[in-house]
């Protein structure tokens, strides 16, 4: 096997860039024709990244472009997550585009929607490989700007427009925070390269105020992406208003990107100074957990509910950041996100398939789903239990690792709050289960499920059970991803 070097290392990114150009060209070329074949092009383009990533997965850490771009196990791990998300989101977009709700359809702009999914994915891939704050910022902006457009994509739907505007305003402020933080960091250390900053910080016994302020500003930007308190206010509205595929993309892709940056910044650079920030994160973890889970209880709209639950999940991930003293926390974050990918996207796949047939996003509309489509109801049941952290499903072991990391760092109180979060979240997930399984449907027409969605759901369910029962290999992968950070 040829060991790739130079530009070949960037093959995944180059491939996606090529795909973007191809889609742009085809979209212009096929003026006035139906655009759904573009979705297929994009889907197969993304699927063919799988062998490329598999080929790269045995590579040692290498840098490129004068230290701007780096390929390492952590980045690769997250590229798998981003790729999986992008594939499933493209699939959902194809379903949504042929929805029976006219207001949900993308109409003539369908082609550009696939394009935007690709640009956001490209941004995520670059975030995974960035080794310099400049590169990181540009990559993050690429993600965010794609999302501004996608969120507001349903031009006749006022909720979508509101969500887009909200996300634009708050997102820009968060980007501003992040950039300002980078400026402080640059001012204090004289460099933007992760490696150089790390070396500078290693020699400091405690962080000077300028660096601390810089770190706080950067954290602000990260917490916004990860949907954590106190930068969570956009979440419920944007999740509810955005088209379902975008919500799914935000909840998994964007959150993973946020926590990847957090791992890079906090663990790679600021690890020696953790006494100065760990407690703050523990506190935020507790607040995020309680806010998300308690806020979810009264929700009636399923996407809004998932918005709050997404905040709750961010709280668990923050526990892993707060427990920085051992590798369990970081390993737990990676494991948790892998489980969250299959679990949460399974939920959104069900929502997509359901709303395609005219169902609304109101939870009451899911009444009797188990009679209308036993398959969708079973997939949803499994996914909701996994989200709540019920063994032996994927969500359980992630929570187990994160609670364990909290206990071994001495945050017993935080572990107790996390445990309470499990109970609260079980309540609102089970309410939905009850609606699906116990209540009677108003309209008992069966819900057809298209073949691609069926395949994707089966893959997700296999993932939920597989990761949950046979944890060992995934644990090793997660550990291999983070072990260079320590």
């Amino acid at each position: 096997m040829v060991t790739p070097s130079g530009w070949l290392l960037m093959l995944p990114e180059l491939w996606i860039s090529g795909l973007i150009l191809l889609l742009l060209f085809l979209d212009l070329r096929w003026q006035g024709r139906p655009k759904s074949p573009l979705g297929l092009v994009s889907l197969f383009g993304l699927l063919s990244v799988i062998p490329i990533l598999a080929w790269q997965s045995s590579l040692e850490t290498q840098t490129l472009l004068g230290g701007m771009y780096r390929i390492d196990p952590l980045g690769l791990f997250f590229k798998w997550i981003f790729l999986g998300t992008a594939i499933l989101v493209t699939l959902m977009a194809r379903e949504t585009a042929s929805s029976s709700h006219p207001a949900d359809r993308f109409g003539p702009d369908e082609g550009e929607f696939y394009l935007l999914i690709l640009t956001a994915s490209l941004g995520m891939f670059f975030v995974a490989s960035a080794a310099n704050f400049l590169m990181l910022f540009v990559a993050l902006e690429l993600i965010t700007i794609s999302f501004y457009v996608m969120t507001a994509y349903l031009k006749t739907n006022s909720n979508s427009l509101e969500a887009g505007l909200k996300y634009l305003i708050l997102g820009s402020v968060a980007s501003g925070f992040f950039l300002y933080g980078i400026a402080f960091l640059y001012g204090s250390t004289g460099s933007l390269s992760f490696d150089k900053i790390r070396i500078t910080l290693q020699n400091l016994s405690s962080l000077p105020p300028t660096l601390l302020v810089g770190l706080l500003f950067i954290l602000g930007g990260i917490l916004f992406k990860g949907a954590c308190v106190p930068f969570h206010l956009w979440v419920p509205d944007v999740y509810e208003g955005a088209p379902t595929p975008v919500t799914a993309f935000l909840s998994v892709g964007s959150k993973s990107a946020g926590f990847l940056v957090a791992l890079r910044v906090l663990f790679e650079m600021f690890l020696p100074n953790r006494p100065q920030w760990a407690f703050l994160l523990a506190l935020l973890a507790a607040l995020t957990l309680l806010y998300g889970n308690l806020g979810a209880i009264p929700q009636k709209n399923i996407k809004r509910l998932l918005g709050y639950s997404s905040i709750g999940h961010a709280g668990y991930l923050l526990i892993g950041l707060a427990a920085a003293g051992n590798h369990l926390g970081a390993t737990g974050i990676c494991f948790y996100l892998a489980g969250y990918l299959v679990t949460n996207l399974a939920v959104f796949l069900v929502i997509t398939a359901f709303s395609k047939q005219g169902g609304s996003d109101e939870m009451a509309d899911y009444a009797g789903l188990s009679r209308r489509s036993p398959f969708l109801a079973a997939a949803m049941f499994l996914a909701l239990l996994s989200l709540a952290g019920v063994p032996p499903l994927a969500g359980f072991f992630g929570k187990f690792l994160l609670l364990m990391s909290a206990v071994s760092e001495g945050y017993l109180w935080l572990a107790l709050i996390g445990a309470a979060g499990v109970v609260i979240s079980l309540y609102y997930y089970l309410l939905l289960v009850k609606t699906m399984y116990v209540d009677l449907p108003e309209d008992s027409a069966p819900i057809p499920v298209s073949v691609p969605v069926r395949i994707a759901l089966i893959a997700c369910m296999a993932g939920i059970l597989g990761i949950g029962i046979w944890q060992g290999p995934f644990l090793n992968l997660s550990f291999a991803a983070v072990k260079n950070l320590f």
């Binding site: 188990s370 239990l385 019920v390 063994p391 032996p392 359980f396 187990f400 609670l403 364990m404 206990v407 071994s408 017993l412 572990a415 107790l416 445990a419 309470a420 499990v422 109970v423 079980l426 309540y427 089970l430 309410l431 289960v433 009850k434 399984y437 116990v438 944890q471 060992g472 644990l475 090793n476 550990f479």
Partner: protein
Amino acid sequence: MGPVSWILLSPLIGAVVLLGIPSDRTAWIRRAAALFTGVPLLITGVLLATYNRAQGGYQWVDRVAWIPSMGIAYQVGLDGINLTLTLLHALCSFTGVLISYRIQSRVKEYYLFYLLLIGGVYGVFVSLDLFFFYLFYEMAVIPMFPLIGIWGSGDKEYATMKLTLYLTAGAVLALVGLLALYRVSGVQTFDLIFLERYLRQNPIPGGIQRMLFPFLLIGFGVIAPMWPFHSWSPIGHAAAPSAVSMLHAGVLMKLGSYAILRIAVQLLPEGAYTWLPWVAGICVMNIIYGGFVAMAQKDIKFLIGYSSSSHMGYVLLGIACLNPVALTGAVLLMFAHGLMTALAFAAVGHVYDQTHTRVMADWGGLARQIPLIATVFIIAALASSGLPGFANFAAELLVFFGSWETYRWSALAAILGIVITAFYMLRAVRTCFFGPLNPRWASLQDATLFERIPYVILVSALLVVGCWPRFLTELISASTGSVLKHLSPLQTVARLW
């Protein structure tokens, strides 16, 4: 893979097999469920006969390294204590499947969840690794939600949510305790056999034990159900379909007391010395308060439900004594009470399915119409009141003997509890089965020959153990002895009561 793994796997394989049977082939679904719960019963019977009593300890241990880096291993095995409880579960789950033949709606889903529940409970009883113990524990709790929510009766939605949340809250509290235990033990393993040995030589500091013990005690105490965390249980029993009530009151509640005994008391003895005298006080509340509440019930399933939480007080009392006699009594009582409650719920379920009312005053004179079911219920009522000849008598006697020295007041209260039990049980028998027959029930059907099988199994188990308790006490006391071998007797500590 040894026999114990097959006990655990059989219902889980059964659940997978059920997925492959079309949902309209209900007869095959029922047969499959009976087969996959019958096999563990047979295996358990064989193991009971072949357990090497002279040697004692854990036998038929299977071990597969699962996540070596964290000290997690799949490890199962049986000693006298969990062999007895596995037998109880095998009896209740198999008869439960037979009782469930009456279920007509959504049969496939019903048996699917039922088999998952059964598998989870077996898992808890046979696991000798704390990680898998917890995993199966939660796995046993969750199928309850759809089982009660879909096939239950009465205020089932409220009941099932309350039950699931209470039990999960207890479980996660215990999980935090287990994680803390993992951390402070310092050996990075969840292996229960190893921890038992290791912590005897290198005990955790007393202060930490005293801090951790309540996590496990309350966490597992919720399902036990220890007062004041019992309120989920009567509501849950009442709302559940008969076979689920049978498993729930018969077996699931025992998971709590089993976990307290096996994990909390064994691994944290210092904590046990400090906290068990309090448990001896609390269980008086279980017994007396639960008994009086049972007396006030009009609904027969609520009556049995409160009676169950009252009787679990005896089990907790037996554990709290930390002496071999009471402990053996406690384990035997778990077994006896499980069978008796299962029997009572099965009989009540038979009537309820036809009358659709559970209010005792509405029944009346049923002994004339359905003599067999009436006899079965009377047997359960007498066993529950501690009539000699039934396993309950032997067990309760052991608990009284064992607790007399240690907690005299609690023992007196417990004996008073027997009187209370006899009062409400006999009154229930009178109201429901004697007196003039309510004409509404003139068409009530008694159990058919096939439907009698579960009653025969349960009654004979109660009688056999009642007439020959040594068969089980020998088995149990060898294992309780090894639990206590390294604990100093509690007599001196607890003159408190």
